[in-house]
Amino acid sequence: MKCNPWWNLVAVFMLISSAYAVKVGDSAPDFQAMDSNGQVHKLSQYHGKFVVLEWHNNGCPYTQKHYESGNMQHLQKEWMSKGVVWLTVISSAPGEQGYVTAQQENDYMSKVKASPTAALLDPKGDVGKLYSAKTTPHMFVVNPGGVLIYDGAIDSKATTEQADISTAKNYVSQALEESMAGKPVSTPTSRPYGCSVKYAH
């Protein structure tokens, strides 16, 4: 292929339009990102499994609500024990809240006892923009066929208060439970709540 500048423009428009094309019921767009141990993960390598994507920023009070309470770690353990792949994605740009180096992320995960399948480092925000990730947390669930079955909030109570977790409906668990039982997902989308994802300016 000749390097025609128009192709760049076309690619940029494809990128922009694809960033707005993530929709429940459609194929979840494939991506590739490096984790905090230097390993590369592609969404497509997990075809045949449920995949949870969790947008993360350890300085955000909404993320802290779910980690300081142990809720997120519990969800990771519970669903990974049932064969689910859990990818934590960090799209904070360098200098922004929540940006971490690989070592910092590993230290954080061992400190809070988080055990996702992987923590993906996305400092350029490529994966975040591909999925239009808006907040931390912002949760996505992909089914074994590679179809996006949930896009939205972690649960039904949009607050920073840990006490609300026990009375909230967890939409991620609900989507996984229903889908594993062969039922349609009753809440396939919701407004994600939290801090804005700290993309590069």
Binding site: N8, Q97, S132, T135, T160, S196, K198
Partner: protein, 286 residues
Amino acid sequence: MMKCSLTLRFVISLVWTVWLMLPTAAASQGKADEHATLELISEQDALVRGKQFWIGIRFDLQEGWHTYWMNPGDSGEAPRIEWQLPTGFQVSDIQWPHPERLTLASLADYGYEDQVLLMAAVRLPERFTEGESTKIAAQVHYLVCQDVCIPGQKHLELSLPVKTSAASSPSRPLFDATRQKLPRPTPRNWKISATSSGDEFVVNLKADKLAKPVQFFPLHAEQIENAAPQNATELPGGLRLHLKKSEHLLKPITHLEGVLVLASGNAYQVRIPVAQPRSSHSQSNN
């Protein structure tokens, strides 16, 4: 090939840089009340039995910081107020002034900068002892954000004497100014309707005299794409507004509810019936 992908990266990053021009970050965190001062205020200097009066929580926000409207938009959270009132007192819902649209990267939030008063009406019972002082309290849960967000909680109190008549308090002008920003009922001479068309709602508004709308603020979180531009065109005797549908909207909706702010600064509550496209197969919602 190599050169091409480098150029591509450059173009992409350039596009994003232009697209995502943001207010500066400078993540100096701290406590919420370093960035917002809250006070419980009354429009009157005394309480009169059987009468209604207005109280409110005034937020004074540090420059660059904001708090949120009842629908916060893409991120954030609306303040919540738990009133603690003497027995027999009745309090209304919060009267939310129309918000501003606050854009951050590819997101749009709905909220307030600088100063906002969240007011509510209180009705006193008929049987009430005059001459005593009465305490009204509020527990406020709120979020303030600049680029980063800090949740806060504040307990506020106000004591007012019970009298046979009341005068204005020094806060009266702020209550009056805030009333100007409260959405009014839809004017009777407006004809407003919308059609669902592809990925947008097209709102048609017919009215005798009309200032161009500045903004539609949705009451419900999952109806329109908050950050999408809202294009308005003038029509004979009215105007048309294009609203992009939310990606979280999977089912047809019967009404768009929200607040329409016109160029005049006046805000109106609207509940717009939405007509579905004629061909039923064009909206599949699996």
